[in-house]
């Protein structure tokens, strides 16, 4: 690691005006030039305030009590200005969409260089576009961009000032995992090829382990430690205490007794292959099943065993609660063309279904949900919900049967408190005993203590739970959720998944449009893959992850543990850590350590694994 620090803080403390306590307390921290540092820590640990000292927003924009010395690129931030420091430090916000202020991408990127009077602004703009390989977006309007594209645009707009340091605040928060991974890969390129120092604020240990070079753990306004990434990942218990649960592969490695925490899936696969003989013999004797498979035919659990629960399969199909028949829908673009989104789509949703609707951006997930909710009616074809054709009733009347929860929680907060928001539907419709319904729902989502707060003032996880409560109080047959786990940290995410889990009693059928494959694997019992305006596949989560080409086509990234299972040749791949650990002992991996080349991301099928076995024999 290069020695010269590009950021150096000494005994820096900062107190926001009007607050009683210091937000930053005696921070001493050095970040080396060329580092890729992840700043982690629980809510309120002052991660963001720390990063805002780097570009002088603290103390110049947020004028509070500042003490200590902060030097960035050799400039003392206290005697400098935000304008001067901005050319050294670029800052990409968590809510990056709000940082875009110009109509087109090119304008947006040229904005800062033009303001600072750089004559070579066009050159800088072109350079920034090329560094992130988004030149083809340059003439787009910013309001047409997808989340990932908007993030890259925000990043390019700070790169155009040719900074030496780029701070990125929680890139994963508002992006789906595939998109977030892409952002990290670009950041990695900036770091390695262009030598930029990258600082990210991050909750997701998965990304930290894979991309960061060093980790700063913040707690109560000061760094607890700043360590190289491997040392940091090895302290997964400490990280978990500060609200950063260990990645799935680290959890699995720990349970299987690996000493060093693996940082990537291939690394985990390699380590486990090397480790396997011990694990296999240790438990192999205990479970007699393994002995029988030593002959060379690897254990292959049947796929059926992992599909729908046996009880469900045996009985007759359950009644249909919602149905779409030959649905065709599209919208007009600003240039007047009709853009088709759904094309002759047919689908039946039955009682007891927990449907995950997956597919790339623009594959029509949200449109299908809005059609099911009756917010839209199809251009042709029919949608029926609880036996009613959505053309026959207004959206307001259909809301008695179906509830749709928007992706952005704050758009659902219409009233001054979440209690009134939850009460809006049952009270206006005169549902008998609506007060009790509201109270029950509030305690069901554990928000009793926040009932009188405005939804906007809650944390991300609480906001999501509040919208869930709004949906529940509508007592629908069908609950439709658009990306319910997006932009949540892992603890809040798990809470939402648990709550969805408990719904099955009250709601006949829930449909979730999502990119979150962990949600798919942990919650869903049916997956609809949208592609080309239709339902391309209708299968169980196990079946989904057993089809790598389908995953690639639909731009889905399986959970880490599933990836690990795939690369170790488990078919069907495991869906959670426990399943992985249980099945790992039964796997026949003894020979694999002689073939480290096979330990890559491409899922080696069990057939290949068996082939290796026979060669070696």
């Amino acid at each position: 690691m290069p020695a010269s620090p590009v950021i150096s803080l000494e005994n820096v403390s900062f107190r926001y005006p009007g607050t009683a306590e210091d937000t930053l307390r005696n921070v001493t921290l050095q970040i080396a030039e060329g580092d890729f540092a992840a700043v982690v820590g629980g809510n309120g640990s002052a991660k963001t305030t720390l990063c805002k000292t780097f570009n002088g927003l603290v103390p110049h924009y947020w004028s509070g009590e500042f003490s200590g010395v902060a030097e960035v690129c050799g400039i003392d931030t206290y005697t400098s200005s935000v304008a001067q420091l901005s050319s050294q430090v670029g800052y990409v916000y968590q809510d990056f969409a709000n940082q875009l202020v110009r109509p087109t991408v090119r304008d947006e990127i040229a904005f800062a260089p033009v303001n600072f009077g750089h004559v070579d602004h066009a050159e800088r703009t072109r350079e920034a576009l090329e560094m992130l390989r988004i030149t083809d977006l340059s003439e787009r309007f910013v309001w047409q961009l997808s989340g990932g594209q908007a993030h890259l645009t925000a990043l390019a707009s700070v790169l155009a000032l040719r900074p030496r340091v780029v701070v990125v605040d929680e890139p994963v928060a508002e992006l789906d995992p595939a998109r977030a991974q892409e952002i990290y890969q670009r950041l990695e390129v900036l770091n390695e090829q262009f030598g930029l120092t990258i600082v990210t604020i991050e909750h997701h240990a998965e990304f930290i382990a894979r991309f960061a070079k060093s980790v700063v753990l913040m707690a109560d306004g000061a760094p607890v430690w700043h360590l190289p990434v491997q040392d940091a990942v090895n302290r997964s218990h400490e990280l978990a205490e500060h609200g950063i649960p260990a990645p799935q592969i680290v959890q699995a490695a720990h349970r299987l007794g690996l000493a060093d925490a693996p940082r990537t899936v291939p690394e985990a696969a390699r380590a486990l292959r090397a480790h396997a003989p011990v694990a296999a013999t240790a438990s192999g004797t205990a479970s007699g099943a393994v002995a029988g498979t030593r002959s060379g035919a690897g254990p292959r659990p049947s796929l059926e065993q992992f599909t729908r629960p046996a009880a469900e399969q045996a009985s007759a199909p359950l009644p249909v609660v919602a149905r779409a028949t030959a649905v065709q829908h599209g919208y007009r673009t600003v240039h007047g063309r009709l853009h088709n989104v759904l094309d002759e789509l047919d689908v039946d949703l039955r009682r007891g279904d927990r449907v995950a609707l997956v597919g790339g951006n623009g594959s029509g997930k949200t449109t299908l949900l809005k059609l099911l909710a009756g917010i839209l009616v199809p251009r042709s074809g029919d949608v029926e919900v609880s036996g009613t054709n959505t053309r026959k009733k207004s959206a307001g009347q259909l809301a008695d049967h179906v509830a749709y929860l928007w992706q952005q929680p704050q758009q659902m907060f219409l009233k001054e408190s979440i209690r009134s928001d939850i009460a809006l539907f049952p009270r206006e419709r005169g549902v008998p005993g609506w007060e009790a319904i509201v109270d029950d729902t509030l305690s069901q989502v554990r928000l009793d203590d926040f009932a009188d707060r405005d939804g906007r003032s809650l944390s991300g996880g609480q906001q999501r739970r509040a919208t869930l409560a709004i949906g529940l109080a509508m007592r629908p047959d069908v609950l439709l959720l658009d990306e319910p786990t997006a932009s949540l940290d892992i603890a809040s995410r798990d809470a939402v998944v648990r709550m969805l889990d408990q719904l099955s009693g009250t709601i006949a059928c829930s449909v979730v449009a999502t990119h979150d494959m962990t949600l798919v694997s942990e919650w869903a019992n049916r997956v609809l893959v949208m592609e080309g305006g239709r339902v391309a596949s209708d299968l169980s989560p196990h079946e989904l992850f057993d089809q790598p080409d389908l995953l690639t086509r639909a731009n889905l990234v399986p959970p880490q543990i599933t990836q690990l299972g795939m690369s170790l040749g488990m078919t069907p791949p495991p869906l959670d850590v426990r399943e992985f650990v249980d099945r790992f002992d039964g796997l026949k991996l003894q020979h694999a350590d002689l073939h480290p080349a096979s330990a890559d991301l491409h899922p080696a099928s069990s057939a290949e694994m068996r082939a290796y076995g026979t060669q070696d024999a």
Binding site: N98, G117, V119
Partner: protein, 279 residues
């Protein structure tokens, strides 16, 4: 009545029309001109009608501006609003004149005003449909308007689609979660009341959401040199470097001024004043 998806007279359509108007996607003569010249043209067309009471001249100016509207390819929504506005005003004039015991004199006086306002409205439509917000903002900057005003114009337009989208979402929320009226009432007046009420209530969440998100915007603007540019003039010169008066600008301005003069001359030759009409 069965519901179906409509391409016109829907919220979606209004949103698209606003965008089309704002970003001059339909093209048109004025959109190819230097924005400063468009503003100059607009200044001429908007001021001239105030200098006369001659109905011949006003009618001529009205026609001129109608041609400008066609050349600028103004979209159906704005045209409809304009015609609707003029129509409602005509009705209102008639009603006012009748109710307050006015005679033909009042009627003529009020229609003179309508003719003036109509001409000016059309000039405004033609000019502002052709100026996308960037051009307008640059033209203002070039004419030494305060930098923050110029920025606000372009930023306001950039927020427009987002605000309409947000309005749409919040409105949908009300639509789903509030109760539809049990009886439609006379001519569906209960539905109308509900819709108006929802539209008004929808602004409350939007204000709060916008207030929250703007905090980031303001901070980001600081880091990207917006205030720096108000002190340092180099940015302004770079931004305005592309503005150039071309033959088309001169042509359009000259022709317009000549036509205005011609209209005034015609007005001198065959003047009609409202006193004449009362004869």
């Amino acid at each position: 009545m069965a519901r179906k998806t409509r391409d016109v007279i829907s919220v979606e359509w209004i949103k698209l029309e606003l965008m089309r108007a704002a970003y001059a996607t339909r093209g048109g003569t004025f959109s190819r001109m230097d924005p400063r010249m468009v503003l100059l043209w607009y200044a001429v067309m908007a001021i001239v009608p105030w200098f006369t009471h001659n109905l011949t001249v006003l009618a001529g100016l009205f026609l001129l501006n109608a041609v400008a509207v066609i050349l600028a390819r103004v979209g159906p929504l704005l045209l409809f609003l304009f015609v609707f506005g003029i129509g409602m005003e005509a009705i209102y004039i008639l009603a006012a004149a009748w109710l307050f015991g006015g005679d033909l004199g009042t009627l003529y006086a009020l229609s003179e005003l309508t003719l003036k306002l109509g001409a000016i409205s059309m000039a405004s439509m033609a000019a502002f449909v052709s100026l996308d917000p960037e051009k307008l903002s640059d033209a203002l900057l070039a004419l030494r308007a305060p930098a923050l005003l110029a920025f606000a114009v372009s930023y306001g337009y950039r927020m427009l689609p987002i605000l309409v989208e947000e309005f749409n979402t919040v409105f949908d929320n009300y639509r789903l979660r509030s109760a539809p009226p049990r009886r439609a009432g006379f001519l569906g007046v209960n539905h109308l009341y509900r819709w108006v009420r929802m539209a008004i209530l929808s602004f409350y969440p939007i204000f709060l959401n916008t207030a929250l998100s703007v905090r980031t915007t303001v901070e980001a603007l600081e880091t990207r040199g917006l205030t720096y540019a108000t002190v340092d003039d180099r940015g302004r010169r770079i931004r305005l470097g592309y503005l150039k008066v071309r033959p088309l600008d001169i042509l359009v301005l000259t022709v317009s001024i000549l036509l205005v003069v011609a209209v005034f001359v015609t007005g001198q030759l065959w003047p009609i004043f409202r006193t004449d009409l009362l004869g």
